[in-house]
Amino acid sequence: MTETGQPGQHVLVIDDEAQIRQFVRAGMELGGYRVSEAANGADALREITLHPVDLVILDLALPDIDGSELLERIRAWTGVPVIILSVRAGEAEKVKLLELGADDYVVKPFFMSELLARAKVVLRRQSERKDGESALRLDRLVIDFASRSVALDGKRLNLTPKEYRLLQVLAQHPGKVITHQNLLKSVWGQAHVNNTQYLRIFVRKLRQKIEADPNRPRVLLTELGVGYRLTDPSTREVARAE
């Protein structure tokens, strides 16, 4: 197996529709991944247990088991990154999937470039987690977890404790959507999980400090109705361009 963070990694595509598996396989292979397929939950579980898998792409509609249940069973014993494929996923469902441990989701129909970009982000995050880096660099922004400092273009930013905490929670899983509830719970505590307005106000304040234009954020992105995610605009632009 090639080194982590690079193509050549093993991707398992779980979808009951042969056509979807066919083009996802073609697309992932074009992206340099090694692909295996499963048409149902039982095959998928066997594949994951028998072979080392670096990424799971999971369609929620499976003939033998509910996709979210399969996700739970996978999560019970492995931290392998999982990207969910779903038709018309509502915001509540997205939140539920993220809480169950999904790393990302893509709503069908989707562009292959989008799926490839998500796969790349998820896999890189996985490798960074393994490396245990103490700082996160997102284009011009550097977050140093050890010294609890944040710098933009080398200049240290003056963040309040709550602002830093918010950024830190997001930065622990760069690229991953963190739900409103999760953020509120981590920063303000369980009692405030429904006070979305706190989040809005602090996200705005953070954006004013870390974004070039807080009205057109490129690092701290909003997932409508679900949560927020931190992205690296330089890599994301590459992925979006096509």
Binding site: Q19, V87, R88, K108, M112, Q197, R200, I201, L224
Partner: protein, 548 residues
Amino acid sequence: MSLERSALPLQGMEDRARATRDLEPPLFASAKTYFDAARIGVRKAMAPGGVIGIVMALVLVVVTDASLLMMRSIQELPPVALTFLIPIIFAAIRWGALSAAVTAIGGAVTLTSFFYSPFYTVSAERSRVLGVVFFLVVSLVSGYLASRTRRDAARALEREIEIRDLYTFSQRLSAAHSPAAIFEAMQQHLGTLVGRKVLLFDSLGTLEAKSERLGDVEIPRAVSEAVGKMQQTTGGDRSKGLVVNERGSAWLVRPVSVNAADFGVIAVDLGRRSESLEDLRARVVALISDAGLSLERLGLARTIAEARTRAETEQFREALIGSVSHELRTPLSSILGASTVLSLAPEVTGNARLKNLAALIHQESERLNVEIQNILDASRISSNGLQVKLEWAEPADFVNAALQRCRNRLATRKVEVTLPDELVLLRIDSVLMERALGQILDNAAKYSPPDSAINVRGRQEDGQFAIAVTDEGAGLDPDDRALLGQKFFRGSRHSSVTSGLGLGFWIASAFIAANNGTIEATSEGANKGTTVTIRLPLAMNDKPEGLT
């Protein structure tokens, strides 16, 4: 179940005639009613034992005597006894047995006085007495026979009328498509049958009267008591009905339908007690149960039909949405996905022609996807299936998301976005707002030149947050604007008819309305561009609490 119910006392023939005139087309109604009235009048007067019969019998005797006496003054007559058979049989046929008997006796008396010699005397001569006795026997027998023929004929006529009435009634019942029509038929038929009052009470026991028809009707106390009792009883009494007497008149009180209390209770004035009362009661009961059955059939049939239609519609809608979202989207996902894979492949990216073709498939399937989404949204709106989750949110978030979603269609436009620097929080469903704004941006792109500018400007004004999308495109002429106000909001115009403000604009309006906002389109005129403005309440008094 609400039934139109009117109580219509059918009091005598005149009342009925008036009532019927109210109910039916005037010409036909009055002709028929007066015919009925005349028929019944004649039938009554012709009844055996009628006073007319006796009077007419006497008149006949006098006339016969007078004409015979006149003839005898001119010419000597043979024995004339047989001549009297003519008036006797005539009276028997016209007025019945009693009239014939009176004629016979009158004839016998005058015969002995005037036509057996010596004339103008009453003697007890044996041959004379015998002659009179023979005459009487012969005339009474023939009178009786003749009157029986008459009675049979009359009964046949009566039965024929009755059958015809019943037939008309059953025809009306089977043709009735509303409870009101059944009630009307029932009232009319009962009125004809008993010729007296018929009252209908609703399920609560109140007489629902239409005053102009009813006038002042006094419901006998015994009747209202029986109506109240009938509503509580179950079993045999319900089907047989109760007979109560009030002021010498017998009333039959019975529920219209034994099974369905909803149809109310009917009270029929059967007239004075007589031997035929039991027969009349049985007939009225039979008639009411016929009508009741029709009502039940109608009500039941309609309930079943309505339930079935509703279920079918719902099922069809679900099936349609299900199949649209699944059966159409599944292949579309493959097409869109595969086309994007193609445009990534080196063999295609290296070949300009193939690259364009792959991009074409990509674009068109994306467009198809948008259309499917629109149909699904429209269906959700029409079926009130829109779920709105209002939360504090920044307008910049949904504006950016909408711009992001439309980025391919806006790629060649010069898009300028202006948003306030300060934080604005609105109580909205960001996902719906993003879709609404996406529709407006899509329209702006669709109906403006590729290299033109599109301006998105958000600002606070008059306690509202306004987002204005201005394009340099086709604009709106006065006709367009009129349609925008009238039809668009009902969604009856389709995007193919005019400049794209069809389904898309309609969906946007519905989504914005769900966020307590308004949408407005203005234009300087055709080809002068359009400005679509969304206004959302700022909710000044409901500001989220600030934090440091």
